[in-house]
């Protein structure tokens, strides 16, 4: 590996970095520095959502509990 090889490597790496950052900048849906995925404070989350109005999937329908036949 010569100094010439290392210069080529440095130039190609710089080109790749520039292209990569430019590609990211041209994608409006992808922020340059993404927010942490699990960042969710208690204030943002709001009250816990309790789905009391809906029966659990494992529960049998009320009609089956009451009398059997619908």
């Amino acid at each position: 590996m010569t100094r010439h090889d290392l210069r080529e490597l440095a130039a190609l790496t710089a080109l790749g970095l520039v292209l990569g950052v430019a590609h990211l900048a041209l994608r409006p849906g992808l922020p340059l520095l993404a927010a942490p995925a699990a960042q969710c404070s208690a204030d943002e989350a709001g009250p816990p959502m309790l789905m009391e109005s809906e029966p659990l999937a494992s529960e049998p329908p009320a009609s089956m509990i009451d009398g059997g036949a619908p």
Binding site: H4, D5, L9, L12, G20, G29, L30, L32, L33
Partner: protein
């Protein structure tokens, strides 16, 4: 009658050309889907849990760009720089795969893009390490080839 070192050099020169073609083809095939779907590749990278969340998007666009540049360079007179770049990338990929295997992280490889969401068809496995070692050997073959003009 030619000398032994001279014959070895000619053999290396002839072997280096197909090695360049294969290596460039593999990395072009790897870079294209990642460049087309950087968000999917970012998700694949995030699953490795090896980078800070803030840097995942940056890595997801820089890595395929480096793969593309390295592959194109392999097909140009800058082939030695391209081989060095792709060799460095391969070392990084291999280390990442090895660490993931050691940590027992069950995730899709993402080596050729994200694939379908939730696709478990290409999970990280030791075979990927073996493939990377083979590709590293091709990069070494290119570097061992002659410095002068192309011999095909």
């Amino acid at each position: 009658m030619s000398s032994e070192p001279g014959r070895r050099q000619r053999l290396l020169a002839r072997a280096a050309w197909p090695a360049r073609l294969v290596l460039a083809g593999v990395f072009l095939a790897a870079a294209a889907p990642k460049l087309a779907d950087p968000a999917g590749f970012a998700a694949a990278i995030a699953n490795y849990r090896a980078f800070p969340d803030a840097l995942v998007n940056l890595v997801a666009t820089i890595v395929p760009a480096l793969e593309l540049v390295g592959a194109m360079a392999l097909l140009s007179p800058w082939r030695r720089g391209g081989a060095l770049l792709l060799g460095a990338l391969l070392l990084g990929f291999t280390a990442l795969l090895a660490v993931s295997l050691a940590r027992g992280i069950d995730t899709a490889c993402g080596c050729f893009g994200a694939g379908d969401p939730g696709d478990a068809a290409d999970p990280v496995r030791p075979l990927h390490l073996l493939r990377n070692v083979g590709l590293l050997a091709l990069a070494a073959l290119v570097l061992a080839g002659p410095r002068g003009p192309d011999v095909r």
